[in-house]
């Protein structure tokens, strides 16, 4: 097990602190320095969307709450199986691979976080979380894209913002270029002979360039440029570092390809991937079962990613998000229905880990949202905004979250020096 060798993420920062240097300051300084092509290194944000609404109460379990066990006779995580974090909260046992990062304080959880909008529709809630404008449907772009277009000084590389999957997610939709990659290995025009590939590329590129400035033209030109930069990278032969083992399947492949892109210094600043299967209306299971299997994949994937990136995790923050949480009380099918507040995870060198952040509202019926769901005490924009300002160095949040200006003191303290 290579975990002990990976403790450097935190230990490295501590060493810098002992020299009187704030690692965050160093990261910022490095970010502000002009970068040359091919050595683009700066802070990276990886966003993972748990589509379907994860049951935050069984991901980060409030095992100190009697109400949790009272309301979930069939699906609560037994107290003796929870991975205790602080005497009140604990991780689902399937997240055990993340334990070392909690211990070295590069993993934090935020609880009772969510949207100020009360919708229990997956589609609306995902839309709001991706547009960054809860309650406003007309917003044309996603908040990660607004961040990119606002910080135009970033080096121009098609890899600045990359989403893994066959579709570009709403969160990255907008005027700033962003890339959708289903599989690095197959990206680009394919032909048996290089000459044939060049011929097709040349012809298609000319057609789409001539097609004006619309979405088709813009997306195609980003695609051709990215494909050129990827030549020479051989994703099929990629060997993760540190003996990292990604889970099989799409999510594991996306994470390993994100790691490969980051390590290739192609200028990735934002990466995004979906991890689905959280809509556990029926038989979600307890320590084991449907939800446990999904969390197992998530935990193994995150642990592999952090192991693989090793030293580079110093510049990387991974943020999980989900559109809402699930009912406190289990439903009639030993599952949970659509709820309100949920939990999110933050992993990485810049994270002030080892703590569960956010104000905990409790699970008693009187403290619940509409008497049934975990209340939201932290607007998701507070956390997202803190990551953008403290990690990526954004100065003016109002361009990314219009009409929402959290005061600096409302920060959770999720990112920053130890």
């Amino acid at each position: 097990m290579s975990v002990s060798r990976r403790v450097f993420v935190r230990a490295g920062s501590l060493a810098l602190v002992s020299l009187g240097l704030d690692p965050l300051f160093l990261a910022r300084a490095a970010y502000a320095a002009p970068r040359k092509g091919g050595s683009a290194r700066g802070p990276v944000l990886v966003c993972l969307f748990q589509r379907g609404a994860v049951d935050g109460l069984s991901m980060v379990v409030p095992h100190g709450e009697a109400a949790y066990y009272r309301e979930r006779p069939r699906i609560a995580i037994p107290r003796d199986q929870v991975i205790d974090l602080d005497g009140h909260f604990g991780l689902h046992p399937a997240l055990a691979p993340l334990r070392p990062w909690w211990d070295n304080r590069s993993l934090a959880a935020i609880h009772a976080i969510g949207s100020p909008d009360s919708t229990r529709s997956h589609f609306d809630a995902q839309d709001y979380m991706e547009s960054g404008t809860p309650g406003v449907k007309a917003t044309p772009d996603g908040w990660l894209n607004r961040y990119c277009s606002h910080r135009a000084e970033h080096e121009a590389t098609p890899f600045r913002a990359v989403a893994f999957g066959p579709e570009l997610p709403r969160i990255l939709a907008g005027s700033a270029p962003s890339l959708a990659i289903d599989d690095l290995q197959a990206f680009g025009i394919r032909a048996r002979q290089p000459a044939a590939r060049d011929r097709l590329t040349r012809a298609f590129e000319a057609m789409y360039q001539g097609a004006g400035t619309g979405l088709l033209a813009g997306s195609a030109s980003e695609g051709f440029e990215a494909a050129r930069m990827l030549q020479g990278l051989d994703p099929g032969q990629y060997q993760p570092a540190g003996g990292a083992e990604y889970p099989r399947g799409r999510f594991g492949r996306s994470l390993s390809q994100i790691a490969q892109l980051i390590k290739s210094d192609l200028g990735v600043e934002i990466a995004f991937a979906d991890v689905s299967g959280w809509d556990t209306h029926v038989a979600q299971g307890s320590a084991e079962g449907a939800l446990g299997a999904r969390l197992g994949e998530l935990g193994q994937g995150l642990a592999a990613f952090a192991t693989d990136l090793g030293e580079r995790m110093r510049d990387v923050v991974v943020l999980t998000m989900s559109e809402f949480g699930r009912t406190v009380r289990e439903n009639g099918s030993a599952g949970t229905d659509h709820g309100h507040g949920t939990a999110m995870l933050l992993l990485g060198g810049p994270v002030r880990g080892g703590q569960v952040l956010g104000r905990w509202p409790g699970l008693d019926e009187s403290s619940r949202f509409e008497g049934r769901d975990l209340a939201v005490t932290t607007d998701f924009r507070v956390l997202f905004g803190e990551v953008l300002t403290r990690h990526l160095g954004l100065l003016d949040l109002s361009a990314v979250f219009p009409g929402f200006g959290p005061e600096p003191e409302s920060h959770l303290g999720a990112i920053g020096g130890a």
Partner: protein
């Protein structure tokens, strides 16, 4: 004055553009792109000869064309393999086989017995995806196929959810296809009572709080009396297992999506209270066990007989199974539903963001016809917005529309190999495999991105080059091999775009043709490039 109005109307009908500068060929291409999955070579000329609107009106009547050729193609798939009972049996067989091998592995006897080649349902389901491609490509009744695609998406079912693998094919065959051009209310009721929907959105697990199913009641009774069904320990453990698995209350999943997605729309004015009440009304709507003749089954023991109120309408106590039908009627004919579904239809047939005009026309036709789908479609096609330059050749095709229109343009007669269905999946739209009940999106920004576009170009070249197994193109239908570069590009432009190919695309193709000397290679290259061009991505 009134006479003048009718005269004007008559003129508009004769020239669908209603005074706009839309040529006869452009109109023909437009109706073929929207009411069918794109033109086959020569079809634009046929429609021009008949008149685009007259052609469309003929499509939008009750009489549907016979299609023995399609029946023959469907039969090649051995459709009995798609029946729910047969599929459920094979699912169960595959499960038992897996279990047995697992037990052998656990007891260290692994490898002694080779895995039995159980005919798992995977291949059947891949074949079923291919059936969808074959029908959309080859059916004479293109409008039905377009609407089957629309409703399949509107009432989305996710194939990979457990038992759904056994239930989905019958859902398409028995629920969607026969009712795709009928009344919306009938279609809605059919989906509400289909095992596939009942299972996908968990209504089969939704029961009155405190309800006990008869088999459990019998077991409990036998334990109390100390005799009867089962004996001693075995009975107790069976009882415990059943109790563990039995639903104990309502499940809101279907109730919410029924209103949000299938009928009223998310802004349709319902509340969380309505969701809960709808779930209570639909308790007891369940299904027979799939291995015992799948179908709808009402479970009185599970039904909540209390009084309910939905959208201000009261459902008195003791409503039984019938109150569910009343609820479906209420929702199917609610003004919010008319508006929501009409708007979705206009987004499909007119523009991603349809103008209010065509939506209003559709709603009026819905009201007048009590939800006859053909009447609503007629209103949309007769709306000026349908023919507006803002609508024509602007909508980006979905991956399925792109692939099927390309196959039609090449006169491919796909065989039973699922290669084309798999290609749709690689383009980002694996058929019947969208997990979200909202289905696949209709908007261009959801489909257009760099990776997906490059994949479309790759597929275009592979299709024209005849490199997709079981999908041989008939390029002679477009142009003879020895046409020469100039005539070649003209023929492609005429067959695919009714003369609407852009200068840039034409030049880019011509430039590459200059140094290709093999005529067959040149023709395949020109056609592949045209299918991958920006104009072929639009409809």
């Amino acid at each position: 004055m009134r006479l003048f109005f009718f005269l004007l109307l008559g003129l508009c009908a004769a020239s669908p553009a209603g005074g706009q500068s839309l040529s006869a060929a452009d109109s023909a291409r437009h109706v073929l792109n929207r009411l069918a999955f794109g033109p086959t070579p020569g079809q634009i000329d046929t429609v021009v000869a008949e008149g685009a609107l007259r052609w469309a009106d003929r499509l939008l009547t009750e009489s549907r064309p016979a299609d023995p050729e399609l029946s023959r193609r469907e039969a090649a798939f051995s459709p009995r393999q798609f029946e729910a009972d047969a599929l459920a049996e094979r699912l169960e067989e595959a499960r038992r086989d897996r279990q047995r091998r697992q037990q052998q592995a656990d007891s260290g006897r692994a490898g002694r017995e080779p895995p039995r080649m159980t005919n798992g349902p995977g291949r059947t389901l891949a074949a079923f995806q291919q059936v969808a491609v074959v029908r959309a490509t080859s059916a004479r009744d293109q409008l039905r196929e377009v609407m089957v695609d629309f409703w399949t998406n509107h009432f989305n079912i996710y194939l990979d959810k457990g038992l759904e693998r056994a239930l989905l094919p019958e859902f398409i065959e028995e629920t969607i296809r026969p009712k795709a051009l009928g009344r919306f209310e009938d279609l809605l009721l059919a989906t509400a009572r289909s095992p596939a929907m009942l299972f996908y959105l968990d209504n089969v697990r939704s029961v009155r709080t405190g309800a006990t199913p008869p088999q459990l009641a019998r077991l409990e009774q036998s334990r109390r009396r100390g005799f009867g069904v089962g004996r001693g320990m075995r009975r107790d453990s069976l009882l415990a297992r059943l109790q563990e698995r039995m639903p104990t209350g309502i499940n809101e999943n279907y109730a919410r999506e029924l209103m949000e997605l299938h009928t009223l729309g998310v802004d349709g004015g319902y509340t969380q209270h309505d969701v809960t009440e709808v779930a209570r009304i639909l308790t007891g709507w369940g299904m027979r066990q799939p291995n015992r003749g799948t179908g709808f089954e009402y479970h009185a023991w599970a039904h909540d007989e209390g009084a309910k109120t939905v959208l201000g309408v009261s459902f008195p106590a003791g409503g039984g199974e019938a109150e569910g039908k009343r609820l479906i009627q209420l929702l199917a004919n609610h003004p919010a539903t008319m508006h929501h579904v009409s708007r979705k239809l206009c987004a499909r047939f007119v523009a991603d963001d349809p103008p209010d005009g065509c939506v209003d026309d559709a709603v009026r036709a819905w009201q007048a016809s009590h939800g006859e789908i053909l009447a609503v479609l007629r209103a949309i096609v007769h709306s000026p917005d349908f023919w507006s330059p803002r609508s024509v050749a602007t909508k980006v095709k979905s991956p399925f529309e792109f692939l099927v229109s390309a196959a039609r343009a090449l006169q491919i007669q796909p065989d039973t190999l699922p290669a084309l269905a798999q290609a749709v999946g690689r383009l980002g739209q694996p058929l019947f495999r969208q997990a979200s009940p909202a289905g696949y999106p209709e908007r261009e920004d959801e489909w257009v991105n760099s990776g997906a576009l490059l994949e479309r170009m790759n597929l275009a070249v592979a299709l024209a080059g005849g490199r997709i197994p079981g999908a041989m193109p008939e390029l002679d239908a477009i142009t003879p091999e020895d046409a020469g570069p100039e005539a070649l590009v003209d023929a492609v432009d005429h067959a695919f775009f009714a003369g609407g190919m852009s200068r840039t695309t034409r030049d880019a193709i011509a430039r590459e043709l200059a140094d290709v000397h093999d005529p067959g290679e040149a023709r395949a290259l020109a056609i592949g490039l045209a299918l991958g061009s920006p104009e072929f991505q639009r409809q």
